[in-house]
C-alpha cells in the first residue's frame, strides 16, 4: 500500500469527520455518517489482510483521540483510547470475510460493506462504552439511545460510502491495491 498517499487521504477524511459530521447529523438522535469508517471500509475491501488491520488500528486510534466523551455536569472531557480501534478491527474482519463474495468495482459494494461494517462497529463501540459506564467511568452515556442512533448512523454511513465510492474507487491503483476487475473480486489474502 502507498502509505504516504493513505496518510494524506486519512488526514482529509479525519478533517471531514471533525468538520462536517455535525452538519450532516439528522434528527434528535443525531444520526451522523462516519467519513473515517468509509475510508476504513474501502481499505478493508481492497487491501491485504495485515494492512487492513493496521489501518483499522491507526484510524481507530485517531478517532479515539478525536471523539472525546463529556463527563457528567460538564466537568470535563474524557479521552479513551481503544474502543474505536477495537470496533474498527472487528468490523474490518467482517468486511474481509464478505469481500470475496462481492463485486469490488461496484460502488454499491462499498456502500453495502460500509453499512454492515459500521453497524457492527457502532454496536461494539456502544457495548464498550456501556461496559465502561456500568463500571463507573465518569462519562455521559445513554446506551439505549446510542443503540438506536447506531442503526441510523450505519445506514447513513452506507449512503455516504456509496457517494464517496466514486472518489475512492479510482484511487485503488494509486494506493497500491490490487485492481480487481473480474466480477468475483479475487482470492482471500
Amino acid at each position: 500500500m502507498n502509505w504516504l498517499l493513505f496518510v494524506v487521504i486519512a488526514w482529509l477524511f479525519l478533517g471531514l469527520e471533525q468538520g462536517l459530521r455535525d452538519a450532516f447529523a439528522l434528527g434528535a438522535l443525531g444520526f451522523a455518517p462516519s467519513f473515517a469508517f468509509v475510508l476504513m471500509a474501502f481499505v478493508a475491501m481492497s487491501a491485504p489482510r495485515t494492512t487492513v488491520f493496521w489501518t483499522a488500528a491507526a484510524l481507530g486510534v485517531c478517532l479515539d483521540l478525536l471523539f472525546r466523551l463529556p463527563m457528567p455536569q460538564s466537568t470535563g472531557m474524557v479521552t479513551i483510547v481503544g474502543p474505536h480501534a477495537i470496533a474498527y478491527a472487528l468490523a474490518a474482519q467482517l468486511i474481509l470475510s464478505m469481500r470475496a463474495l462481492m463485486m469490488r468495482r461496484n460502488p454499491l459494494t462499498l456502500g453495502f460493506l460500509a453499512f454492515v461494517g459500521a453497524l457492527l462497529a457502532l454496536i461494539i463501540l456502544n457495548g464498550i462504552y456501556t461496559i465502561r459506564d456500568a463500571a463507573g467511568a465518569p462519562i455521559e452515556w445513554q446506551p439505549k439511545r446510542q443503540l438506536v442512533a447506531a442503526m441510523g448512523s450505519a445506514l447513513y454511513t452506507g449512503v455516504l460510502a456509496l457517494v464517496l465510492a466514486f472518489v475512492l474507487l479510482p484511487l485503488t491503483g494509486a494506493l497500491g491495491f490490487p485492481d480487481h476487475k473480474s466480477r468475483w473480486g479475487g482470492q482471500r489474502r
Partner: protein, 302 residues
C-alpha cells in the same frame, strides 16, 4: 512494508494493548488527553474551513442576514444592557456590602474581562448532543470555566476542556451541561425578577421551574411572561464574568405537572441553534474567576 512477519507479529500485541487501554480506568489514562489535543490541532487545517463552510451554508440563525452595522449596534445594546444589569445587581450587592464593611469585610477587586473572537473548528462528542471545538486554548489564556458567548452577548456555554491550542465548549442547550440558575426579568429597568432553574431538553431549549412569588401589594402571584428575557444568575456554579448574560427568552409558560399552582417555563436562546454558531467570543478573566460562593461579588467590569 507491513507484509513482513514482524509486523504480523506486532499486530496482536497492538490490539492487546488497545483492549487494555480501552478498559483502563480513566484516571490512569488522563495523560492521553494531550494526544487528543494534538490530534485536534493536526486535523484543524481541514476541519476548520469545512466547519466554517457548513456553518455558512447552515447558519445558527436562519433569519435574513443583518447588515454589519445593525449587528454592531445590537451588540452594543446588549453589552450596555449587560453592564446595566450588572450595575444594578452591583448596586444591590453594594448596599449589602455596606453592612458587611461595617463588620470589617474587604471588597473584592473589580473583575476585568478580556474578550477574544475564536472560530468554531468542529464538534466533539455525541452528535445528538454535540459540543463545540474552538480554535483557542491555554496559550490564549483559555481555561476551564471560560465563558463563551455569541452575537448579542447570548451565552453559548463554557469551556469544559482546554488544550494548548483548542478548547471544548459545552453549550447550555447540551444535556450534559448540567443546568443552570437564572432570573426571568419582569421589566427591563430592573435586574430583579423571578428565579428559575433550567435544564436542557435536548431540542435547543431549556426548561424548568420558576420561583413562586406573590405581589405584596395585591397578593396576586407574579407570573413570567412569554418573551421575557432570561439572564444567568448562578454565582455558585458559573463564574462572575458570566452573571447576567442572556440565556434566552421565555417561549412558553405552563403549569407545573408536579405542582399545578406553580409554573414551568421553556426558554429558547436568541440564537436558535447554539451548536451551529461559526464563532464564539471567549470571555477570559486574567486571574482565576472560579465560581464564587453565594452572596459574594457578582459584578463585572469590561
Amino acid at each position: 512494508m507491513l507484509q513482513n512477519a514482524k509486523t504480523r507479529q506486532l499486530l496482536p500485541l497492538t490490539f492487546v494493548i488497545l483492549v487494555l487501554l480501552a478498559f483502563t480506568p480513566v484516571r490512569w489514562v488522563s495523560w492521553l488527553s494531550s494526544f487528543s489535543q494534538l490530534m485536534q490541532t493536526l486535523v484543524a487545517p481541514v476541519s476548520h474551513p469545512l466547519a466554517g463552510l457548513s456553518r455558512w451554508l447552515s447558519p445558527a440563525d436562519r433569519g435574513p442576514p443583518d447588515p454589519e452595522a445593525v449587528r454592531a449596534l445590537e451588540d452594543t445594546i446588549e453589552e450596555t444592557k449587560v453592564q446595566l444589569y450588572q450595575a444594578l445587581s452591583e448596586n444591590d450587592r453594594l448596599r449589602a456590602m455596606v453592612k458587611e464593611l461595617q463588620r470589617g469585610m474587604a471588597l473584592d477587586p473589580d473583575l476585568r474581562v478580556l474578550q477574544i473572537t475564536v472560530p468554531v473548528i468542529g464538534s466533539a462528542g455525541d452528535m445528538a448532543d454535540p459540543m463545540l471545538t474552538v480554535r483557542a486554548g491555554r496559550k490564549q489564556g483559555v481555561d476551564r470555566n471560560t465563558i463563551a458567548t455569541a452575537h448579542g452577548l447570548q451565552l453559548v456555554g463554557r469551556v469544559v476542556d482546554a488544550g494548548d491550542r483548542t478548547a471544548t465548549v459545552a453549550p447550555i442547550t447540551s444535556k450534559s451541561s448540567g443546568g443552570l440558575s437564572a432570573v426571568i426579568l419582569l421589566d427591563e429597568s430592573s435586574a430583579s425578577g423571578l428565579a428559575c432553574t433550567l435544564l436542557a431538553r435536548g431540542d435547543g431549549t431549556l426548561h424548568g421551574d420558576v420561583e413562586d412569588r406573590y405581589d405584596t401589594a395585591t397578593n396576586q402571584p407574579i407570573e413570567p411572561k412569554v418573551g421575557a428575557e432570561v439572564r444567568l444568575r448562578d454565582p455558585n456554579h458559573w463564574p462572575r464574568s458570566a452573571q447576567m448574560l442572556l440565556v434566552g427568552r421565555v417561549e412558553s409558560v405552563e403549569p407545573s405537572p408536579k405542582q399545578p399552582l406553580r409554573k414551568v417555563v421553556t426558554v429558547r436562546p436568541t440564537i436558535p441553534n447554539l451548536e451551529r454558531v461559526s464563532e464564539v467570543y471567549l470571555r477570559i478573566v486574567p486571574e482565576s474567576d472560579a465560581p464564587a460562593p453565594a452572596g459574594t461579588h457578582a459584578g463585572a467590569k469590561r
